[in-house]
Amino acid sequence: MTETAFQRQKDLPKSHLLSAGTPMCAGCGGLEAIHIAYDVLGENTIFVNAAGCMTLLSVYPFTPFRGSWLYTAMGAAPAGAQGVRDALDILMDKGRIEVADDLDVVVLTGDGSGYGMGISATSGTIDRCLDYLYIVYDNEGYGNTGQQYSAATPHAARTATSRCAYGHKGFKKDLFSILAANGAAYVATAIGSEPLDLAQKIEKAKSISGPRFIITLAPCPTGWDFDPKETMTIGKLAVRTGVWPLKEFTDGKVSHNKTFSKLLPVETYLEQQGRFRHLFEPQKKEAVLRDIQNSINRYWHEVATI
């Protein structure tokens, strides 16, 4: 176990850097993860934000951040991060800023960009060994425009563009494995409902150099259709049912941070969300539910046998 400032929950930051008053929906799972991440990252952070829900964080003249924030088009955030990183390096080389005043460059992106439109630029930054952190808030659809399906939408979920009886036809892209296979310095999955695990991973990512990635699942009351008060409950269920494995990739190895001797049935997670209601009403779609459960079982079986 590496040394961490976050041994237990009571070590989590007591004061919050991210200001209130943002236009995110009540109960936003992504915002909750970002406020924890920002507390760990600290003020010396510059955010490069791909278009998405979180670009509404800073709408002139309001910003919740203490430092700089830059807005880019959907596919261009990693390229923006390259520019910012290069600019900081040049300024330091020329002695125009002190090395002590260097900033961490952090990309903030939703799943629409992170899994889809921005993936080519993201891959490019790994090729170039860009020193930056990349945080994905994954609410499994294009949430800001009304939850159209994205490359991160899970199989059978209903979205604004998947309204047939069985929901979304495709399957969630395995971004974690793609980034790991691409040779990232660090890849982790996390979720705001497990704040200690998230804080530890942000802390670890901050201590490494090179392209680093943290993919957080962001339960979305608006897009997933559940009561905002259930955001953390649903997040915890995503972990307990094995839908969202918490894992890390470092030094060429994948390790799981939370494993369970027995997973909860996936139905307990699905039935709480309106986007899966068509799997239970008017009659239960047993075959679809079984397929979803089987794919989760298969994943965890492989994890156990490696």
């Binding site: 007591k14 200001s19 209130a20 910003t63 008060k229 953390m232």
Partner: protein, 312 residues
């Protein structure tokens, strides 16, 4: 031309309501525009939607400044300047409120001489955001007040706009629309179409001439940190979390960490305090508090509860 403006909170179905009314006009042979206003269309936040309908082509665009009918699906918005319920009213503007407070009281409170109708609230849910039929009830009333839309057209419009919902949901929505349609029977055709606005008589706003500033001053760059705290997102709240300090076990990290909005701060003696200027009322803290020390109270009853002081 009919100009109808909808006010509600995100989650109360204002966009759907405007679309149903728009479609009903369309089915009745009108040219129609219906659109919500793009912005922070978040759950609980003030939402605006607009319907224009005319027998001739509509050349107007954008938001409706001077409505013939103002529909309000949540009466807690009426007192909020940010919701702009009363903006641009004329002598002819008619109001339709989804509210249990009667017409006379509203006219007195708002000092209005305008015609005003109220639709009784479905009181099954304490939280206004759970009143799922507020929007469609307003549509039923609005349709009746125009007098040019009949029940069959309204039914067809709801069926078409809600085609992907379950038959039960569709029929319940139709029932609610019909109930208010019948309720306002004696006020049929009270709305008059507003006159077309002619481009010839258009007067531009009284612009203030400003000398151009250098880009460093006039570009939309923000130079201060944490300015979003100036935005009072507490206005979105319909339910209020209240900490009972006698039950609080000072674990502090749970509510403070799980609050997505950084609206719960930790005091020096490890109690927590909720910032009501910014709390959006998501109630995550109420659900997560292990000692059940946080109560959920409807915002309209919040005055009746005395807040406990943070223990020293």
């Amino acid at each position: 031309m009919y100009r109808i403006r909808f006010h509600g909170r995100g989650g109360q179905g204002m966009k759907t309501a405007s679309r149903i009314l728009g479609r009903a006009f369309f089915l009745a042979g009108y040219e129609v525009q219906d659109a919500p206003r793009y912005g922070a269309e978040r759950r609980g936040a003030p939402i605006f939607a607009y319907v224009r309908a005319a027998k001739s082509p509509i050349n107007e665009r954008g938001i409706i400044q001077h409505p013939d009918l103002v529909v309000v699906a949540d009466d807690s918005l009426i007192g909020l300047p940010a919701a702009g319920v009363l903006s641009g009213l004329t002598d002819r503007t008619i109001f339709l409120f989804y509210s249990d407070t009667d017409e006379k009281s509203w006219q007195h409170r708002l000092n209005l001489k305008n015609t005003l109708f109220t639709i009784p609230v479905d009181t099954q849910a304490v939280d206004p955001l759970q009143r799922r039929y507020a929007g469609v009830s307003c549509v039923g009333g609005a349709a009746r007040l125009t007098g040019v839309l009949d029940q069959a057209t309204l039914k067809k419009a709801i069926e078409e706009e809600m085609a992907d919902r379950s038959p039960h949901t569709v029929s319940t929505n139709i029932d609610h629309a019909n109930a208010t349609f019948s309720l306002l029977a004696q006020h049929d055709t009270i709305i008059e179409e507003g006159a077309a606005i002619s481009a010839v008589g258009y007067e531009p706003p009284k612009w203030l001439e400003l000398a151009p500033d250098p880009a460093a001053i006039c570009a939309p760059a923000i130079y201060g940190g944490g300015t979003s705290s100036k935005v009072q997102t507490g206005l979105w709240r319909t339910m209020r979390p209240v900490i009972q300090y006698d039950k609080c076990r000072q674990c502090w990290w749970i509510c403070s960490t799980f609050c997505p909005d950084s609206a719960i701060s930790v005091t020096e003696n490890r109690y927590t305090r909720i910032d009501y200027d910014h709390c959006k009322g998501c109630m995550v803290c109420v659900m997560q508090c292990p000692s059940h020390a946080i109560l959920a109270i409807a915002e309209k009853d919040a005055d009746k509860v005395t807040l406990q002081e943070v223990p020293s």
